[in-house]
């Protein structure tokens, strides 16, 4: 038992040290703040993608419009702060809560739709969000130009400070995800994903839990959106489009859905890949498309799924070997 807990603690310590040292190492190697900013972006994406995974990976529902929750929350905190000078510690939760409420409102009728049509409903929701922000009544969203947003005062000017702030929140959200998925609520989500009819038969209120999953994931993505807005001090309707939603999905699927670490691995690798192909400019999206297609065909379970398959294979072979050994002995 003791060695077991020791075994668990050691990697945790190593991981913590790496996470704490990362921004300083990045700064030392590159000599500037750029990669610290990328690290900050990764942490924001970890929150968003973890949230999307609660929806897709655990409750089995699809969304091709989650970027709209990201952007709605970002505009909410930005506009409330810009127009009414409401302090950020109020406007940020307001943004995330509004995203969660809208998620629930969309899911209330949409949770009855079959997979493909749920994806269409979320595409429509995303486009409506985009066009609304693009040409808002009275131009209160500053339309296509987007809005400038204030930074969080005590973090302003230092990406390293931002990094630790976001690290804290990423840990909080990931731990919350671990709690949720390993509970009665989480089991209900997975049961719905695995077999909706049986879940209903076992007393799970399918619609309620589908709506709950939508609201939780919209809250995660919404919170990530507010952080993005205050970090980059700018948000525009363009971010609400399908491309951003697809990016979240890609990260989730690449790492492996229905997994805590999968979401994190996916974010880190895809974000690094995107940075690497950024210099290609107009060919960037072409290459991204090709990469995406290759990944989908070659790695349908994501990295975590692939590792799981290999392990399962090895275990099977081991069992077979033992079985053969037993047969020879007998």
């Amino acid at each position: 038992m003791k060695t077991n807990s020791k075994k668990k603690i050691l990697p945790l310590i190593i991981g913590a040290v790496i996470l704490l040292a990362l921004p300083f190492v990045a700064q030392m190697i590159t000599g500037n703040d750029y990669w610290v900013l990328i690290l900050c972006t990764m942490l924001i994406y970890v929150i968003a993608v973890s949230g999307l995974d609660i929806l897709f990976g655990y409750s089995g529902q699809i969304s091709l419009g989650h970027a709209s929750f990201y952007v709605i929350a970002a505009y909410t905190t930005g506009l409330l702060n810009n127009y009414f000078n409401i302090p950020l510690f109020i406007t940020i939760p307001c943004g995330a809560i509004l995203a969660a409420l809208l998620g629930a409102a969309l899911a209330y009728p949409a949770s009855r739709l079959k997979f493909h049509f749920l994806s269409l409903a979320t595409v429509a929701f995303g486009e409506i969000t985009y066009y609304f922000l693009y040409t808002s009544p009275g131009g209160f969203t500053n339309d296509y130009k987007g809005i400038n947003i204030r930074s969080i005062p005590f973090l302003e000017g230092s990406y390293t400070k931002w990094y630790f702030w976001l690290l804290l929140w990423a840990i909080i959200f990931v731990v919350a995800k671990i709690f949720i998925v390993n509970s009665r609520t989480g089991r209900a989500f997975i049961a719905i994903r695995e077999n909706t009819h049986a879940a209903d038969g076992m007393g799970v209120n399918v619609q309620k839990y589908k709506i709950l999953a939508f609201a939780i994931s919209a809250f995660y993505v919404g919170f990530a959106g507010t952080m993005y807005a205050h970090l980059y001090k700018y948000i525009s309707p363009e971010t609400a489009r399908q491309k951003q939603s697809v990016l979240f999905l890609t990260m989730m699927l690449f790492g492996g859905s229905g997994s805590i670490v999968g979401s994190m691995i996916g974010v880190v690798i895809i974000e690094i890949l995107l940075e690497l192909i950024r210099p290609l400019q107009e060919y960037q999206m072409l290459l991204y498309g090709i990469l995406l297609l290759i990944v989908i065909i070659a790695l349908p379970g994501g990295i975590v799924g692939g590792v799981r398959d290999v392990m399962a294979d090895r275990a099977k072979r081991k069992l077979q070997k033992e079985g053969e050994g037993g047969a020879q002995n007998g």
Partner: protein, 294 residues
């Protein structure tokens, strides 16, 4: 193997005793005594289910008594599973009533009916395949657990205690059917017969007033059927009430206390296994319907 046979014999003796007791009761006090010992838990009154113009179940009235095994038999397409689905909330009856301890269930959704105290298994296995065997049973307990989203989110002490307790109880259920060594394997990896057993304990985990078993012996080999026979009697001894649909006549005649025969959606006959076996209408229906001989 020897143990199974022994269990089998023991269980058989027990039922024989039960039947004898029943006969005694019948002789001594008649219906009134029967109602006291085995009150009606679940009842359908004139349940009719139509799909478009087709009548799948026609005014079916059945009574399920506490602590007994009630069986629903009939040739293929007689509407047994359809009636099951109406009781468990998959279909809403076109007309008629479904009562659990006098509480109306017709028109309620599946999850509400489970909450009210009716659990079920499925003809086609409907497990949560990639969840572990243990987790499947824990989902079965869903309506009996009290933790909610907020206690789950904050991982409160109460939630952790309840979860640990549920885990232990689920493990005991697995032990009961001999699946404890597979507790942490994915349910989809179990053999067919074991999956059927898991479905049964998943259903029992909600501590239902009535459990509906939809062809639990389908696809089982003869050894597994013997085990099932013994298991059902054990479940009965624990105080549960069973309503069963099954094709295996040997099993049905052996375990049932009371049998309803459906034919073309309507009730053809009802009675004890002996009465059913002697009923000329039933014999005619079966001989005319299919090769399945009583």
């Amino acid at each position: 193997m020897a143990d199974i046979v022994k269990d089998e014999i023991l269980a058989q003796e027990e039922t024989d005793k039960a039947i004898a007791k029943e006969a005694e009761l019948q002789a001594a006090g008649g219906k009134a005594e029967d109602d006291k010992a085995h009150p009606v838990v679940l009842e359908t009154r004139g349940v009719t289910i139509q799909f478009g113009g087709l009548t799948a179940v026609d005014h079916a009235s059945i009574k399920v008594r506490k602590g007994l095994i009630t069986a629903l038999i009939g040739p293929n397409g007689a509407g047994k599973t359809t009636l099951f689905n109406a009781v468990s909330g998959v279909y809403i009856p076109t007309s008629g009533e479904v009562l659990l301890n006098g509480e109306h269930l017709e028109g309620k959704r599946g999850f509400q009916i489970n909450e009210a105290g009716i659990s079920r298994t499925y003809q086609v296995i409907n497990l949560f395949r990639s969840m572990t065997v243990l987790e499947n049973v824990m989902v079965g307990m869903h309506t009996r657990l009290k933790s909610n989203f907020w206690s789950d989110l904050f991982n409160s002490k109460k939630k952790r205690e309840e979860d640990a307790e549920a885990r232990e109880k689920a493990f005991e259920w697995l032990k009961f059917v001999g699946l404890d060594e597979y507790a942490n394997s994915p349910a989809g990896s179990l053999s067919y017969g074991k999956q059927r057993l898991l479905e049964i304990v998943r259903g029992l985990a909600s501590d239902p007033q009535v459990i509906l078993l939809d062809e639990p012996a389908a696809g089982m080999n003869s050894t597994e059927k013997l085990e099932l026979d013994a298991l059902l009697k054990q479940i009965l001894n624990m105080g549960y009430t069973i309503l069963i649909v099954e094709h295996d006549m040997k099993l049905i005649m052996n375990i049932s206390d009371y049998i309803y025969v459906l034919y073309h959606g309507a009730l053809l006959a009802e009675g004890t296994p002996e009465e059913i076996q002697a009923n000329p209408d039933v014999i005619a229906a079966y001989l005319g319907g299919e090769d399945d001989v009583i």
